[in-house]
């Protein structure tokens, strides 16, 4: 499979695509664009941007726990911890009676504090965690690309079966419930999905900017879309476009790819905001 991809890249004859790591990075961007573009629509519609940010923080705590336990693959710990975080959050939100943002604030700050506490225990250096904070998409391996493709396939299939109910749950839980949709279950499925995607992508995009990929594509699409079809289409295309432009720009400027992608998405948001005002 990778040979076919290498062949396709060589057909393009782009100077920035000469190195293998750039070919891998481009494929990662092409896989992540639809993944984040799709999930972004629901994060924005369900007003969950603060929550997805908190999930990233919990992923960092999971990484710290994994490193403490001597794991070779701390990202697995991050996925596990983020899923635990998502389930516990849903439970506490329902039982506590507090506003959602209050519960998110409690969980987010606790996760960050716990992560920093574990990471710096016994005077340990924090530097080894920088790659998770800043992200490095050029480090993505063919094995990780396979995993990313698998996650995209799972999300696409789930989206085909569940998206109508997820949308209804997000825009009006009571209406959804009256039509026999188990709202709590659908909310849980989505939060677990976000937890898995955020933590898996964290080391490539960077924890500090990953939430921009989950918010900005749909936020920009929302400015100009008239229905769900346009909303999904503009969100996915925006994420893909910003991803490719961000990768090329960061190659020539030598900066963090995740940050440049976020900046392009912010620019795209500004453009669509202006278009909306004109309309």
């Amino acid at each position: 499979m990778m040979r076919i991809w290498y062949g396709l890249c060589e057909l393009l004859q782009m100077p920035w695509l000469e190195m293998d790591f750039m070919k891998h990075a481009l494929l990662a961007v092409l896989l992540m664009g639809p993944l984040f573009g799709i999930l972004s629509t629901m994060v924005v519609t369900g007003k969950m941007s603060f929550f997805s940010d908190a999930l990233g923080h919990s992923g960092f705590t999971g990484i710290a726990v994994g490193v403490l336990c001597g794991s070779v693959f701390p990202v697995r710990w991050a996925v596990g911890f983020a899923v635990f975080f998502a389930v516990l959050f849903s439970f506490v939100k329902r039982r506590s009676g507090h506003a959602t943002e209050t519960v998110i604030g409690v969980f987010s700050s606790t996760a960050v504090a716990l992560g920093i506490f574990i990471a710096t225990m016994n005077g340990s250096s924090f530097t080894k965690f920088n790659r998770y904070l800043i992200g490095d998409i050029l480090s993505v391996t063919p094995g990780e690309l396979g995993l990313l493709a698998l996650v995209l396939a799972v999300v696409a299939v789930l989206w085909c079966f569940l998206s109508n109910r997820l949308v209804l749950t997000a825009i009006h839980p009571q209406l959804a419930s009256s039509r026999g949709i188990p709202v709590g279950t659908y909310e849980l499925i989505f939060t677990v999905l976000i937890a898995v995607v955020v933590t898996l992508s964290m080391s490539w995009v960077g924890l500090m900017v990953i939430n921009s990929l989950l918010v900005l594509p749909a936020a920009a699409a929302r400015n100009i879309a008239k229905d769900l079809r346009q909303y999904h289409l503009v969100s996915v295309l925006g994420a893909l476009g910003a991803g490719i432009l961000g990768l090329v720009t960061s190659y020539y400027l030598g900066s963090s790819t995740g940050a440049v992608i976020s900046l392009y998405l912010a620019l795209w948001f500004a453009v669509t905001l202006c278009l909306r005002k004109r309309g």
Binding site: W159, S163, N164, L168, H172, L175, K226, R229
Partner: protein, 250 residues
């Protein structure tokens, strides 16, 4: 089968919704106590009461969204207990102005398995237009939900609640946030739907101006049922004046 409240036998045969000794508690607090309510087929029943009287809680209990003590039973037309469908129009629907969800999208999300972001086809569009025609809302099909006025939104949600056709239609404060013209239009449409479709309508409201013209019965609720009867009976009762502090006092 056409089935109206006039041509049924006794209450036992004609009740489509029967609530017996219903109580709802939140911890120590009793929100509803010993509520008994029988709704007959084809009736429009208005549930009124001051804020915090438990109207929305009663509706949630009927919808199965709230735990309760007592008994709620449904009987479809014909008197045979079995599959019973409830249509629901929620209170103050929170559609944001910029949400890119069109009226057709909302119908697709509720009625179709195929994802709403994919093309839906002409047949589905025709069926949505047909549903909207019940509330004279065909022109709204491509509008975004957040761009609808209060009255338009209620009409769209009413059309949606009638798909598939329920035996009991519940509307939670359908007249709030709707101007006078919109209220009149909505009530006329409810009256028309009740006449043409085989269903009963239960609605909560704070607006009493429409009760006499459009409702068969009014139920005054304040944690328990204070008074029930015809609109005139309830609106002229002492219980009504007391519940809304309209007694005149000294």
């Amino acid at each position: 089968m056409k089935h109206t409240h006039c041509n049924c036998g006794g209450c036992h045969d004609s009740c489509c919704l029967k609530i017996e000794n219903l109580s709802v508690r939140f911890g120590e607090e009793t929100v509803l106590e010993d509520v008994d309510l029988h709704m007959h087929c084809g009736q429009i029943v208005a549930l009124i009461g001051p804020n915090g009287a438990g109207k929305s809680t009663l509706i949630r209990a009927i919808l199965g969204q709230r735990a309760y003590e007592g008994r709620i039973s449904f009987t479809p037309a014909g008197g045979t207990p079995g599959a019973f469908r409830i249509g629901y129009v929620p209170q103050s629907p929170s559609f944001e102005h910029g949400d890119p969800v069109s009226v057709q999208d909302l119908f697709a999300c509720c009625l179709k398995r195929r994802p709403a972001f994919l093309p839906m086809g002409k047949a589905f569009r025709r069926s949505v237009l047909e549903s909207l025609s019940r509330v004279h809302g065909e022109a709204l099909i491509d509008k975004r939900m957040g761009d609808l006025s209060g009255g338009e939104l209620q009409r769209v949600l009413l059309a949606l609640a009638l798909e598939p056709m329920p035996q009991l239609l519940i509307l939670d404060e359908p007249l709030s946030g709707v101007d006078v013209e919109g209220m009149e239009l909505l009530m006329q449409q409810l009256h028309e739907i009740r006449r043409t479709c085989d269903l009963s309508i239960l609605m909560t409201t704070h607006d009493f101006s429409m009760l006499e013209r459009y409702c068969d019965r009014v139920v005054l609720l304040s944690h328990k049922i204070l008074k029930k009867g015809t609109p005139l009976d309830v609106l002229n009762s002492e219980e009504f004046l007391d519940a809304f502090h309209l007694g005149g006092g000294a």
